[in-house]
């Protein structure tokens, strides 16, 4: 399940510009941004609030458009795809983890995790097995029937990680995954992301404010005023 490290980078942004326009005000976020991330990397993106970290993740997830520039992921040009194609692409290649978990309240933990599998031609029995397996992996085996609204923040975030990896995507995007957690839960979540990166070869891009979270990654990018400042680290 390891991702091949090829010569061409897994993620490549070149000349990406993005400006938010509301009424007659315009707020430039990036101008001519370049960035590459290798397959199998665990990258932390840090930067002050409002510097465009979430915007960057949204561009990588194909849920927001750049004004100009190329966005290439796993050999595919995201900026050339239509909405439906991007949705299909996300279903195949992408897992997302948000600060506030974004679980559906009317579904149980297991049903939340099962959602991405509904988009694939997989029989129900196999779906159930896979859901049980990833819930085990995130340490919530046997809790599948519980409603996530009755779980602690740390547990909810683990459900959302299970949902992000259940369809076995190659890329995980995490927007402040520990931002709402206590230290202990945050460390659990970070350990889990590290495991997914090292053992399962997932490429991870994680936006964070938390210097300890950045330590879990093996590369940190600082985003400020629309430019990257690199800060390589050795993996712990």
């Amino acid at each position: 399940m390891t991702t091949l490290k090829t010569e061409s980078p897994f993620i490549a942004l070149s000349g990406v510009s993005k400006t938010y326009r509301t009424g007659n005000e315009s707020l430039p976020i990036f101008t001519n941004l370049d960035m590459t991330i290798q397959g199998g990397d665990f990258v932390a993106v840090m930067g002050p609030s409002g510097s465009g970290k979430s915007t960057l993740l949204n561009l990588l997830a194909g849920i927001d458009h750049a004004d100009t520039g190329d966005i290439q992921i796993a050999g595919q040009r995201l900026d050339h795809m239509g909405e439906a194609a991007r949705a299909a692409w996300r279903a195949h290649h992408l897992g997302i983890v948000f600060q506030f978990y974004n679980l559906l309240p009317m579904l149980t933990a297991a049903e939340n995790v099962e959602l991405p599998l509904l988009l694939k031609p997989i029989p129900a029995s196999v779906r159930r097995e896979r859901v049980a397996k990833v819930l085990d992996l995130v340490g919530l085996g046997g809790r599948g029937k519980q409603n996530p609204t009755r779980m602690s923040g740390g547990q909810q975030q683990r459900v959302s990680i299970a949902r992000a990896i259940v369809a076995d995507p190659s890329l995980l995007l995490c927007d402040e995954p520990t931002g709402d957690l206590d230290r202990k839960s945050a460390d659990d979540v970070l350990a889990m992301l590290g495991y997914l990166n090292r053992e399962l070869g997932k490429t991870i891009v994680m936006v964070t404010h938390d210097p300890e979270a950045a330590n879990a990654a093996n590369r940190t990018l600082h985003l400020d005023k629309g430019v990257f400042v690199e800060n390589e680290q050795v993996a712990a």
């Binding site: 949204n58 927001d64 909405e83 439906a84 949705a87 996300r90 009317m106």
Partner: protein, 380 residues
Amino acid sequence: MTFLGLIRKSAVRKPLRGSLLIVSVAMAFLIYGLTASFIAGSQGTAAASDDLLGVMNAAGRAQPLPLAYLPRITELQGVAAVSPITRLRGSVGDARNVVAVSAGNPDKLLAVSGKELGLTNAMVDALDDGRDKVLVGRALAQAQGWSIDDTLTVTAFRTRKADGSRDWRFEIAGIFDGKSPSTDTYFILAQYDYINNARGKNRDTVSTFALRPEPDVSPQQLAPRIDALFANSAAPTRTLSEKQFLSAFLSQYADVKRVVTLVVSVSFVTLLMIVVNTLVFALRERRFEIGVLKVLGFRSSRIMMMVLAEALFVFLVGGTIGICLAKLASLAAPPALGLVLDTNVALRAFALIFLLGLTSGALPALSAMRTPILSAFRTR
């Protein structure tokens, strides 16, 4: 979990709101089912025949015609059979328990409207067996709990016997079913001769002549020929088909019916608007969830189908409950109301359920499809 499971969970996520929605739809379709049954039932003209003709006094339905017209009508070319009919209305037991008696000539009744009323030779023979014998329609017999050989006394509103009494004693010789469930069978068939010979006034007159044209003769062309026969008599006639007659007869209720239909339609539409409104608001709360599904890779078109299916789910469950309640009510209601919820009414109701489910789902579904993922998150 399956897609259907996801839709179901979504539709009933708030049990109170979900049930209220379903109850609203059920009520709307209960109302609809009852009105449609009422219109389709024996109060309507649906089962009335266009083939049968009735000859009445042109001066008004309540005016009699002389029995002496009978041979002239019978001899007219294109007439297959004619029966003199005299009508009598009265009550049985309780003064409010109103029944109608149509008295005719048994053999001729069989020839004229035997098919429509479901009369058999045996029934007509039984009717002919004694002068006070009668045949009772199934709906009336059921409503009154009458069976064959029972005797009953009809206290007529107007028709007196020669001795001044208004009490007419009858013995039930048979029960007729009518051709279809929507045939009006809420009346009594008696013998013309019995009533004609016993009554004090209006002897040898008829309320109407009921006639059946020859099979190859058009009733619409026969009618004016009959009326032409008597155009210059003291009592000119007016000949109508049974259907025209019933429509004319019902027009005195038509205004009531129109008001009922209007009130029903307004409440129907109001309930539906409440349902659509609730669905739209429920969806606002869910912009965030729709965004989540889109982020997970659900296509807009699929999300649109899901929201549509949810509305359809509410309408199907509610509508089915409503139509079933209407069916029960139509079975339990007194036959005099003439509620008939047949396959036709049910099919039309279900077509309406689908149509309304889809249209009321359309607005929320479109807005769900158009919701951009980012704005979905911003509602958080």
